[in-house]
Symmetry: C3
Subunit: 151 residues, 3 copies
Amino acid sequence: MKNYTLILVAFAFLTFAKTASAQTDPAVFTGATAKLKHYDALYILNSNDEKKIKGTLRNIDNALEDVRLKGKLHVELVVFGDGVAVYMKSGAYEQALKDLQAKGVVLAQCSNTIRERKIDKADLFPFVSYVPSGNGEIIIRQYEGWAVVHP
Amino acid sequence: MKNYTLILVAFAFLTFAKTASAQTDPAVFTGATAKLKHYDALYILNSNDEKKIKGTLRNIDNALEDVRLKGKLHVELVVFGDGVAVYMKSGAYEQALKDLQAKGVVLAQCSNTIRERKIDKADLFPFVSYVPSGNGEIIIRQYEGWAVVHP
Amino acid sequence: MKNYTLILVAFAFLTFAKTASAQTDPAVFTGATAKLKHYDALYILNSNDEKKIKGTLRNIDNALEDVRLKGKLHVELVVFGDGVAVYMKSGAYEQALKDLQAKGVVLAQCSNTIRERKIDKADLFPFVSYVPSGNGEIIIRQYEGWAVVHP
């Protein structure tokens, strides 16, 4: 009877060990054709070049629509430096941003940029969120296991 | 007799757990002077600027020849957006690409770019392979543990 | 008696497995509000554009001062290609570099660039250190778990 209990404990270990490994880095065990259930990606924009802005927004959409990621990808766009142009009410990107937000994309602005450039938050879209620094966000998200894309 | 079996099972666990950890991220345990047996790197090119293209191809070669990586590094070059220029038959990069391919570099093109720009695949070198989206590739490869370089 | 021993062994496993997982990637278990004790970040500079150079140096400082990272972030700046301009004695960045070095930032130069461009090391600041290749450094640091930022 006791031995049966021990065998049960053993099976519990096996299950726990597998689960722990999978949470840590499942891709290692599943290879290139892996189909994880969830991916996080941080997109970076620090340019006010119209082509770069449009390209970055389109790139995010392409990633969300990739057959390998569709329905499993969560994206945050972090903006700093000249990139702040994308969030200005005076800009031309309101609809594109709203479309991405409707797909779950978090739109984040570097607070350092706002302070250094004395930009009034009222001039940015109200649906923008703020992080202490764009650069800190890039580092922390990588430590949290996120993929980072700077097109 | 049954107890011996259980002890064997226990040892099997210990072995499994250690192996699993080591496979997940060996660098964590070996430090900066680590000499892993294998590295994977994804290079990104999304520009048609001649200097950027030549620089990226030369950078890949520099990484392959780095004394710390030589013979242990596998590279994939993923191209999207304007970067498609590097794979066009009309371009000047055939020999440089063939030299990299001879060193094992996988040359991948974003299918989205081809479709959006209505580019005929027949205009690209036949040794180019295709991925659903360049951006999806960047995210998935990071989740698979690859290093990513966007020079 | 033997069964008690086995139960002890079982508990030892559980403890070991949890410790191993935590060492591998603590962030996975602590989430976005995690406060790790230490972060490493590799910054990349491969441009001689004055705005890009100044922006990169300022970005490093912003990361070091981010409330989430202050006192816990170690940075290395790796320079290759045109970026070598930042380390030239003839340039205008000596004080900014010394300020960063005083905050613990390691200033590294790609040896390939120096050799390919026949640059005399005597023309670079004496406090610069050298790595075999900037690209190798980018790949190896990622395998060592570092965050990488290319502003």
